[in-house]
Symmetry: C2
Subunit: 349 residues, 2 copies
Amino acid sequence: EEAKAVGWGILGTADIARKLVRAISRAGGSRLVAVGSRTLERVESWCEQNQIPSEVARYGNYEEVLRDGKVDVVYIPLPTSMHKEWVQKAADAGKHILCEKPVGMNAQEVEEMIACCEHNNVQFMDGVMWMHHVRVPVLRKAVDNQDMMGEVVRIVTSFTFFGGEEFDRTNIRMKSNLDGLGCVGDLGWYNVRAIVWAFQKEPNEVYAVAHKRNSEGVIKSLNATLFYDDGRFASLDCGFDTNCRQTLEIAGTKSSIRLDDFVLNASEESSSFIVNTSAFKDSGMIVEQTSSKHEAGGCCQEVRMVECMSKIVRTRQLEDYWPKIALQTQRTIDAIMKSAESGQPVKLK
Amino acid sequence: EEAKAVGWGILGTADIARKLVRAISRAGGSRLVAVGSRTLERVESWCEQNQIPSEVARYGNYEEVLRDGKVDVVYIPLPTSMHKEWVQKAADAGKHILCEKPVGMNAQEVEEMIACCEHNNVQFMDGVMWMHHVRVPVLRKAVDNQDMMGEVVRIVTSFTFFGGEEFDRTNIRMKSNLDGLGCVGDLGWYNVRAIVWAFQKEPNEVYAVAHKRNSEGVIKSLNATLFYDDGRFASLDCGFDTNCRQTLEIAGTKSSIRLDDFVLNASEESSSFIVNTSAFKDSGMIVEQTSSKHEAGGCCQEVRMVECMSKIVRTRQLEDYWPKIALQTQRTIDAIMKSAESGQPVKLK
């Protein structure tokens, strides 16, 4: 396609933005055109550190990024508490939006953001990079393969890393006024997304327990059970208190699928998942077990995410799927937070 | 050791008993001397099917096994609802006892069984075969290796198999008057045992949900969270509704240990577990991951269990450990059942 490259702007100079800068530079039909930060000094220093080409505009505030006519789409890696304001401002400025997760502090905020994007006819997408990996459609096909899986009845997923004491005290993800959802927003978002994606709907009810909080009351360790119709369920644990685990198990009546790197793929050259097909035989005397590794191709999922968004912008074919699944995720996160506060199961409407 | 072989009697002709017959025949210092069933016809037919040598006594009831002077220890694979009666009768007859799990319908029963065994100075042990595998002490050492694991903070474990419709209707494990604990007693017992074993104590509190029940109300699918001090926790799922999964993950601040065959080992020649040591680096840009397989030796765990019991009988060195951990397991199972009934978290005393 010989189209003009889609122009990307970035609001904020968070660490995570570096990943996207790299992805934009590698993605087809996409180029970085502007970066904004709170001060010009800050943006200059960040651009130098990250070797941003000189033709990329530097702004000492976010508004100018939104006024820049070369910017078609903005990436918003700001603290969660600032998302609603800047998503709405960006949408009102006619910019498409890729917003880091957790999208909002609650579903009410997210509904308003999405309504504003719809009103302005711009795309909304949350930054769940793993959803764009080439492995995902292969996985979808496997999950839906009833001959192999039988009925898919439960999911078990974990996402943790060990932050340590300084992290608990100083990291933005532990600040109640900035990212008040703590490990639930930062890590649980991916677990919930995987569950909503696999079962293709949000749960009916949620029960969650916060096992650890920091001195500000922000959750640093949690587990939850998500209830679906007909006895299907999912369980997840997330936390900043355990070594890095990023596992997803999708279990059916006939087989189980397992991924040990569902969020951050270890390699760009290849990816895979395991299918375990086992059964007790002879009244539990023996287990017949087969385990097979399914290769699913390699890619850089951030590059694919940028390309997906740029294509939407270029073709003007907005995709309902992305705001919908972001909102389903947020609604489930809301129920998790409410259950963790109340100590009671919480139904989703 | 040139000692006289320990004499084993079996009360009941359940399928599972075949496994123990084979184990007794292979175990050093152990021999099968008597089998009892409800009728002589039944025991004769079972002995023929399982090629039981003719010198093994056949009894058309359980009492005669307990009166047989050659019997030092009895194995009790009867339905759970019958355990208390026959454990007490066996103990009163001076026999040591290996009792299938779940040990009792509730902890009160198990306390009475154990008190009776103590009174009669006989060993009580539940039939958790995996605890006797040569892998277990190797695993213990790994779990306790703080340099490798850091602090052990959470456990995730699953044990399921797919029973199917006929199983739900007819299997003894789905009969409320025989094995009323359903999948919790049959499968969850192993999950709970692994958690109690790994954390070396029972939880403070439990929350459990029964996701499916059969027409008699017996639980066929459940998950639970077990709460420990200081924010440590464990989650488990068990059920007769999912393909065979028998996973145990013990996660620390530095590493995680994973077993995919913690109950029934696929091979007698070898066993292993995986140690995953991973961390996010560079603000979550990359994951540094190492995964190593630890070989832990091969054995037949049933043979080891029989040898363990026969040694206790021969040396008359009763081991407090086995009744204690069986009771801890039952207490936790009780709390799980109570929580599943009430829909509320249940504290253990």
